[in-house]
Each structure stands twice: as C-alpha cells, then as structure tokens.
Symmetry: C2
Subunit: 560 residues, 2 copies
C-alpha cells in the first residue's frame, strides 16, 4: 500500500517542531506549540468537539486491530451520564504476536522518521483538542477548562517532550562510524561500524482515571518513538480519551505506510484484571503505569521481564514558616487545594505550621489564625457556585467521597466540605475541600498525616518549629514519597534547610508561590514531574532515564 505521506514530507513538516522541542528541553525555558486557549482552535471547534463526542456515545468504538473476541465498556461520566461506549476486548494470544510482527518495519524507519510520525499523531490529536476535552472531562470528572488544558495541550506537550528525549537519546550514537586505530609502523586497524536503535518489545501503557492523556502520553510516545509497539490499557473508568488516541495513532501509522498494529487498545471486562495478565507476558518488555501504590509495587515486583516505570502515590507537604505576601500565599494555597477537588497526585496534603505561629507582612499569625485564614480563602474562592464548579470539577469515584466524609473523624475540622450543585450536570458529585487540624506531636495523628488521603482533604499539622517541620518533611518524603513539596519562608536558613531536605530526600520543591503558578502544576519542557528518587514514583516526566532503556543499540562492525 502506498503511503499517503512520504517520509520526506513527514520529516519536512515536523522537523522544525522537533528542533524547537529539543532546544526547549535543553534550556528549559517556556515553550509550547499547543495553544492553551479554547478559542485558538477556531470558531466552531467547541461545538464540533462536543458534537463529535456525543456522536461516539452509545456505540461501539470500532478499531481494526486483530484478535477482538468481545466488546466491553462500562464508563459512566463523573458528571452523571453513562457513556454507553463499548470497545474491543482482546484475545491477547492473537493481539500480542500481531504487535510483535510490526517491529522490523518500525525499527528500520529510524529515529527521525519515527519522531515525525509521532508528531503527526500529536498534531492530529491537537486538531481535535475540543473533542478530547469532552472525553477527558466525562471520564476524569475534571471541569471543562482543566480537561481542555491538562487533557489537551499540556498532555500533548508531555507527549512531544517524550518524543524529543527519545530522539535525542537514540541519536547520541551516530548511525555509522569509521574506526581507525594506529598500529605504529604497520597499517592501522580499520573497521566500519553501524549502530541501530532496536526496540525492547511490546510496551504496555496502563492509564489512570484522573489524567488519562496527561499521564499516559509520555510513556506511550516514549515507547513508540524508540521503536516499540504500544498496547494501551486504559483505566476502565477512563477508556475513551485513550481509545481516541489509539485510533488517531493507527490512522497516522497507516497513512505513513506503517502497520497500524503498532498501537493497539486493550480494554478489560469488569473485574477481569487484564493489566495483571498483560504485565507478565513475555512479549511485554516495557510498562508505564500511573495509579495506586499497591498495584505499582505489584508491577515492580512481578513484571520482571519488563522495564517498569511507575507513578504511584505520595504525601505532598507544604512547609509554612513565614511569608512577605500573606494574602498571596493564602490565595495560592486555596487554589492548589481546590483545583480538581484535590484529585491530583501533586495536590498538597500536609500543611506544616509551627504551633507558635508564623511571621507575615500582615503581622504575626498564630497557628489557628493561619488555618482559619486559609479556610476563609478556600471558602471565598469557592463561594460562588459557578466558579466553584469551574474549579472543582466532579468527584471521580465513590472512594474519594467516602474519604471526604471520613475526614471529620480524623481531627478538628477547620473547614468542612460543602456540596455544590452543578446546574448543567445534576448527577455530578461536587465537593469543596476539607481542612482538618492535627497535632504533629500526637502519635495518634501520624496515621492520618502519614497516609495518602487522595481527594480534597488536607491536614493543617501543628509542628514545634520550622526545624521540626523540615524533619517531618524529610521523614514523609523518605517513607511515603512525594510528587511535590512546597514551602513558604522569608528566612534564608529555613529556606536552606528545606532545600537541603529536598536534595537529600529527592523531591521537587516550589518556594514561595503566591501568584499564578501553583505547586500542583508542572510545565513540560521545563519542570520535572516527580523525581524518580522517592517512593512516589520510580520515573520522571521526562528525562534521559525515562527513555534510555526503552531501546538498545545494536552494533555491527566489519572490516573497512
């Protein structure tokens, strides 16, 4: 079959973007080719996207992949409606060999053409960002604007970043080398050497419920760009955004003259546990996973035939020592706690506040004042229902709701959760954050603040001093892991202690954020997401280590 797009066309189209991405990961300055504003996608894009999403509902999601033995799908929007979409269920004994068979053609394409094909996939996804936003919103429960930005341009950025790292890593070694070793008066020894990046095998990407595209794209594109076929296993509650991704990828691969089966979908039946089956298959040599610590640990322990990249759970901490912008600190923290109802792996959980209070530009504030002022800031931010709905989104699953309801039993409630009505989606569960006061010196509080309580529950933990806060921060990161650490201080020595703790315990630190940047947000090409060096995650989005072991370099040497 003739390719609809030649290699030269694809490379010509996408090489400039790839070069900009390579430059961005080198300088780590701000850059993105994907517009954040919904209006940037054209006047009819929003309506078209919503219509396209609606057209998918209540139907089979057709894919041409081999080995389909059933149809399955039980997605219900956190906003209420059932999606009613059914997806192919794989016979893995058919699907995995078919995927393995795609390897030679894709390997022989080489790093540059693979990158260009990946960028074409991202470009076509980008063009349909409004449709993806609907799909992300109605699977994750994110509010529309967040589903649009995090599920669209920011996810595409993270995918592109992974492609750039993959390309850079594969091209550190030249394709050919001439080697000539002097031998004194004799002729030199001369060899001609070729180096080929070869894939490890089938890559399995196990998606999560809350950020199916944002957390899924880095692994998917890193594996594909390094030559591996990718089997996408979405979370059963968040299939659609990744099924759409698979479909686009298959179309682009086919148009470019490559086997579409390089990217396939695996959706399991209820309680089937397909991820466990797939994870230990000998064909599967790479796994990317975002989700619970329990299953992440299971994968690391059992999927020994694969390179396993995990992002699990952590306990994120903010040290509150002092500030020269008390109001800015409160509003920044209030936003961080509220965004997507705290259902981000990066949302702060433990706010460590000296029981003797803090110094601020508004005068000294006692522990109780800080907590009640923060509660007031959250209440103020979310006082208007329309604004609250736009920030909070919907509670993603019943377990989060249970945690909100149980939070009151953990300590003194400084801010109770409020039910918010969403007039557009009466079926949505929308809840404002809870803030619970805990005494860090009481051993019975530890069980609460040293466990991850995923969802809109934060603990205002009273500590003896800033130094005590730093010790608790260290212990929390070492034992429980952290995706983010925040700190507010005007004291150079406290800043030094917090930095030293983060360097030693390997956690990413945001200092004195009081404006429009939040501790729970990271920007592709500049910020690392996670550190890969504490229990919250064994990998980072995105660095050299994230891509370097997805391929191996095979050398063939012969006399020159």
């Amino acid at each position: 079959m003739a390719a609809e797009m030649t290699a030269a066309q694809l490379i010509e189209k996408h090489r400039p973007t790839l070069d900009q991405a390579l430059e961005a990961i080198r300088t780590r300055a701000y850059w993105s080719p994907h517009p954040e504003h919904p209006k940037a996608y054209g006047e009819t894009a929003a309506a078209d996207g919503a219509a396209a999403f609606e057209a998918l509902r209540g139907k089979r999601f057709e894919l041409t992949q081999p080995g389909t033995d059933d149809w399955t799908g039980q997605e219900v929007s956190p906003y209420g409606p059932e999606l009613g979409i059914s997806y192919p269920h794989p016979d893995v004994d058919v699907l995995l060999p078919a995927m393995r068979a795609t390897i030679p053609a894709w390997r022989d394409a080489g790093p540059e053409l693979r990158a260009a094909v990946c960028l074409e996939i991202l470009a076509r996804i980008s063009a349909r960002t409004h449709e993806f936003a609907q799909a992300v919103m109605h699977t994750s429960g994110q509010a529309f604007m967040m589903a649009f930005q995090a599920g669209g341009p920011h996810a595409q950025d993270r995918g592109l970043e992974a492609v750039a790292y993959a390309y850079a890593e594969q091209t550190r070694t030249p394709g050919q080398a001439a080697w000539s070793k002097p031998q004194g008066k004799r002729d030199p020894l001369e060899l001609s050497k070729s180096f080929t990046a070869v894939p490890r095998g089938v890559a399995l990407m196990i998606g999560c419920n809350t950020f199916p595209t944002w957390n899924g794209y880095p692994g998917l594109f890193a594996s594909l760009a390094t030559g591996n076929p990718v089997l996408v296993k979405p979370h059963p509650r968040a299939v659609l955004p990744l099924a759409m991704t698979v479909k686009v990828a298959r179309e682009v691969l086919d148009d470019a003259g490559f086997p579409a089966d390089l990217v396939c979908l695996a959706v399991d039946r209820p309680d089937e546990g397909l991820a466990k089956t797939l994870a230990v298959r000998p064909e599967v040599r790479i796994i990317d996973y975002t989700g619970s610590t329990a299953f992440g640990d299971w994968l690391e322990t059992h999927a020994r035939q694969a390179e396993v990249h995990t992002e699990k759970a952590g306990v994120n901490t903010v040290v509150i020592d002092s500030t020269d912008d008390y109001k800015g600190m409160l509003s920044n923290l209030a936003f961080s706690l509220s965004l997507y109802s705290g259902q981000m792996c990066t949302t702060p959980q433990n706010l460590l506040i000296p029981r003797g209070g803090i110094t601020t530009d508004a005068g000294p504030k006692s522990y109780d004042e800080v907590v009640s002022d923060l509660a007031g800031a959250v209440s103020g931010l979310l006082g208007d229902d329309a604004r609250a709905n736009g920030l909070l989104g919907a509670i993603v699953n019943p377990q989060v709701k249970e945690r909100i309801e149980a939070a009151g039993g953990l300590g003194e409630v400084a801010l109770a959760s409020r039910e918010v009505t969403n007039p557009d989606f009466p079926g949505a569960t929308v809840r404002t954050p809870v803030i619970v006061k805990l005494d860090g010196a009481k051993p019975d509080s530890e069980a609460a603040y040293l466990s991850e309580c995923f969802g809109p529950v934060s603990f205002a933990v009273a500590v003896d001093s800033a130094a005590d806060a730093v010790e608790l921060l260290r212990r929390t990161v070492r034992e429980k892991g952290a995706m983010t650490v925040g700190a507010y201080t005007t004291d150079a020595e406290v800043e030094r202690l917090v930095e030293e703790a983060c360097l030693e315990e390997c956690a990413q630190l945001s200092l004195n954020l009081t404006g429009g940047v939040y501790v729970n947000q990271t920007a592709a090409f500049s910020d690392f997401h996670g550190s890969g060096g504490n229990p919250a995650a064994n990998a980072v989005l995105c660095d050299g280590a994230f891509v370097a072991n997805r391929f191996r370099m095979v050398e063939v040497r012969r006399p020159a």
Copy 2:
C-alpha cells in the same frame, strides 16, 4: 583542611581530556589518552611497577577508612604464589553511615568538578599502570601483556568513558533556567528554576575475578561521577587491583578537599557472602555486578531497593558460512579462542558450521576440514611454549580446569587441550583450548552447546545450513544470551539474515574479522560491550542508560 588541588586547577588540567572523551563517544571514532605500549610509561616503569607490587605482598594493605573490625585476604596468584596480603574487613553498620555522610559535599561539587576529580584518579592510576598490570596478572591469571593492556589503559578508557557519559547526562539539564510564560495582556508568569543532580545513595560495585579493573571501572566511575559514594566489593580472588584503585581514589579525594570515604573497600572473610549482605542494605541504591548468572539473577530479584546493573554469562556464537579469506578467518578465530584461555565473557563458544561444508577462497571446505583446519590454526598459534604462555595466561580457578577435563566427554574431540609449562611460574596451570565436535541435529548435544562452558572449550556445531545456523543463533541469544556474535559470510542474503537476527535478538555482531581485530575485544568510546537487551547482561558498557538512573535531578523553583 586546605585542598592540595583547587577545583579550578583540577578542571583546567582535565577539561581538555573530558572534552575529547565527549567528542569520542559522539563520533565513536578511535581515541584513547592511555598508551597501550608498556614502554610508553618510562624506562624504569616496568621495574618500578614490579617492585611496587612485590612491596605490597605479605603485608596489610592499609586504608584509613572507618569501621574496620578485622583483616582478611586469601589471594593466591593463578601463577602460583600466595599474595599474602590482608585487607580491612568492614563493620558495615559503621562504614555505610560514614559513606552516606559524604554525600552533600560531593553533590555540591557539581558535575564538572566531580568529572575532573575522577579524571585525576584515572591519571594517577595510569601513571602506575605497570604496578596495576602486576596486580591484575597475579589475580586474574592473564598473561602480562594482556594484564597490562586490558587491566591498564583499556580499563582506564572504560572508566573515562563512564565519566564522560555521566558528565553529559548530568549537564543535559542546565543548572539554572529562567521561565517566562506569556499571559496575553497580563504580565507573564515568571519563575527562576535551579536544577541539581543528586546521587541515589551508596553505590556497590561487585568486582569479578577475571577483569577486576576493566569490568569494575565503568560502574565505579559512573557512580562516583554522578555523586554517589562507592563501596568496592572485589572478588575474593582479585582484591588487589581494586584495593589499589580504592587507595588512589581516596588519596585524590583527600587532596581535592573531599571526604576520602566517598570510595571504600569491602573485602569479605572466606565464605562470608558479604556481597549478599551489602546488596540488600537500604543505604545501597546502585549495584554494578559482573559474574555468574546465578548471583546476577539473585541480585536482580532481591536487591529491589537498588538500580542493579549486571553482566552475567552468555553463550557466544560464530556463524561460519563462507569466507574470501580462509586463512585469515582461521587465524583470527584461533586467536580469539586462545586469548586468556577463553576466559573472557566475550570468547566464542559455539562455532556453527554447515555439515555440507563452506565455500572459501581456497575452494570448498567440508565441515571436517574446517574443524581440523581450525584445530591446526590453534595448534600452530600455540605451538611455541613462550608464545603460548604469552597468549594463554594461566587458568584462573580449578573449575575451569575441571571443565577442560570434562569437555572430552561431550563429543568427538577435534583438538585436545595441551598442558604448557611456564618456566617463569612453574605453579601456573596453562592449558590450550579444546575444540569438540557436536551435531546440532542431535537433541543430546543441546545440553552442551546451549550451556555456557566458561573457559577454553569451544563447540564446532554441525548445522544443516546457514539458515539453520541463524535459527540456532537466534534461539541461543534469546534463551541464553550473548555478549558477542560473529559471522563469516560472503553471501549478502546470509549476512542480512544474521544481521536481522542480531537486531531482533539484540546482540552485538562482528562480521568477517580476519585481521587484527577480534570478536572478543571491544574498544571504549566506540564499541558497546554487551547490548543490555539479551539475557547475558542488563546493561551496556557504556551508554546513556548506564548512567542516567544513577542520579536524579531535583528542581527548585521560585518566583523570579
């Protein structure tokens, strides 16, 4: 204490070498700063080195490291004499915390100064290459010239290569970045970001008997250059070369104003199994290991708190299909089988030869002719005892000798092993290689040729055809792993099949070597040692993946 060498002096001295190494790993052209010829080290260097080695014998090897609770050491030269050296035995509960305490100062030095310190260590080792050659010879059993070259300049090259990769990887991300995100008409969001490479923790390097420095230096220097303290646990039969390395490293670190305890030695008592104890200690976060598959597998399974890099055993294959230089092929293979008595992880074991014979520039040759001509080439190469001793070295341990003696029971012996007398070292066991004929079609031969038979034992396996040879090659690499693959063919289609097999099974291929380059030798900066993609090894000397996970990048971001 004032440093004897300032950071600026160290960097000025070594930056040009580092830059050349960085260029060499990028072009993969021939390069080395370490002379291969013994005479390049000065007129008195050989005598000085021998005297320095003799002066170490029969004494305690003093190191200033903390936590020494005993002295131990049982090295006996494969050439006969006991070394009589005893080394500090560690109380790991004292030593490991002391090593952890060195981390902040070394981390704060940054990648460039760390690289310069590593290069100073290598430079001081290089200056004592003759002494190291004696130590390697009398622990590995390598003949002097090989101990000199492989244990000296080639090992130093591999160490330098690892430093270059480590430096490149750490500096892919800048130390500082300014991030400014446009916000339409509002002021941009601006952050100042710093990025610090932080080490994982204590690195454990577990040395091997046969190439203590060559196989040890990459892991040692990769870990040290990325900021990790390194605990060196030598093979009990090959302690001295690594103890000398540790001593030099400690002196340089001290001279440069860093804690000497960044590099320490751990020598175990007989049958203590100290490596197992150390490998699962929580302080140990990186392990580099060369040795048996059994212990490598144990480490990969049990040392879950660490990044584990292993080089284990494989079954190396040469496909012999056809050649336009029959004599060159035979002499090249004879050398490869003989060098260090086949006690290299890269020595060919299985020679796959079509039972119908091969075509050559000297006319068609039957299977029997090829085997007997190869036997003749080996006999010719090793006919002179002085030359044989210079190539073979000594049998490293009694297990290898047992394997030589058992080889006759595995099939028809085409070339019997001969005992060679070494007049300089009457206590040495010196043996020429055995070649055994096996029929690849007979199932009872499989147990022999599909197991690693470490030492000077090769199998001439009769196969049905070149295609059959390629299938057996594939199966061997997939099931048993391979550090090297060789092939001789003048047929483009056979060449393509062999290349495709190596690309798919992930093995490094040498084609048609008939001159002075041998399949079992790889050159730092140009050749990869192993592929990391088949069961013989999970890591490569040296690539980005070998260094990328030895450190993590911690970001601190604050409002600009």
